[in-house]
Amino acid sequence: MKRPSIYAAALLLSVSASAEEAVIEGNVQSKCIINTDVNGVYGNPAPDKLSTLSTDGGVEPVIRFDVAVADYYLARITTPTGFSTSPSLSDTVTWTGSTSVGEVSDTGMSAYSTNKVTYDATTEFDLTIAGSTWFNVSSVAEYGYGRALPGGTYRSVVQAECIAK
């Protein structure tokens, strides 16, 4: 008779142990994450031109900014104004570029396009809404006047910055 009561007590103890609450804690910390979704590729539609535009056979870089808390960060994207790697060039290169808002995780982010500030090769967006914003970057390099770009590998750098306000 004693044994069953011991088993019952042990069972009760184990039941009470398994009924302990497992607490899961978490907090949403303000932060910005820069995701380079697509690195981009230059197309060579003409002998003197390199372009990331799809109509020119290129691939536009796509950068995603994720912000956990609204209104804490500015996104600043600078399009290239020079090659980081290229063959020796004897003539000038004319650079044009632009940054536009692509997909958004919140419809209110469509205002980013109208509120953007552009200076030199830099475009600044005020990330006033928490969530993800995809930015499409275009870059076009035109060489000299009707001169063909020398053969070789060309690379340039798009700078994506997330600056706390």
Binding site: I63, V69, R155, Q159, E161
Partner: protein, 130 residues
């Protein structure tokens, strides 16, 4: 449903992991164990498989460099790892050390020809976080 789950799983596997993250957004300086120096602890997470190194920099409100010390000014942060680092500034520089930034260092042998450099800056002068 299973097919859908498989597609989602495959998409997750095939999507490149390419994120750069730094916390906290608003760090505060506190006295360090070295007399005359204040320090703050930062953390960088590297989910960019094309980047292994990040450069630390400190700037004033008009983006001029401010002298600082850190264990490493170029941090080696392997892919999918998080690294904490301390930034030290002189007591007299605390007021002008406004931005603490990490900048991805790109390899020249990268296959893609338009490369994205990422830079995240935290801000130390937000009074409400002091």
């Amino acid at each position: 449903m299973r097919i859908l789950l498989c597609i989602v799983a495959l998409l997750g596997i095939s999507l490149p992991a390419v994120a750069h993250e730094m916390t906290p957004t608003y760090p505060t300086f506190s006295p360090s164990y070295v007399n005359g120096l204040a320090s703050t602890k930062m953390s960088v997470f590297n989910a960019r498989d094309d980047v292994d190194f990040y450069e630390v920099a400190v700037y004033n409100p008009v983006w001029e460099p401010v002298p600082f010390a850190a264990t490493d000014k170029i941090l080696h942060v392997p892919f999918a790892e998080k690294k904490s680092f301390d930034v030290y500034v002189r007591d007299e520089d605390i007021a002008r050390a406004v931005y603490i930034c990490t900048l991805s260092k790109l390899r020249s042998d990268k296959p893609s020809n338009a490369i994205i450099s990422s830079k995240i800056c935290s801000r130390t002068d937000r009074a409400e976080f002091r």
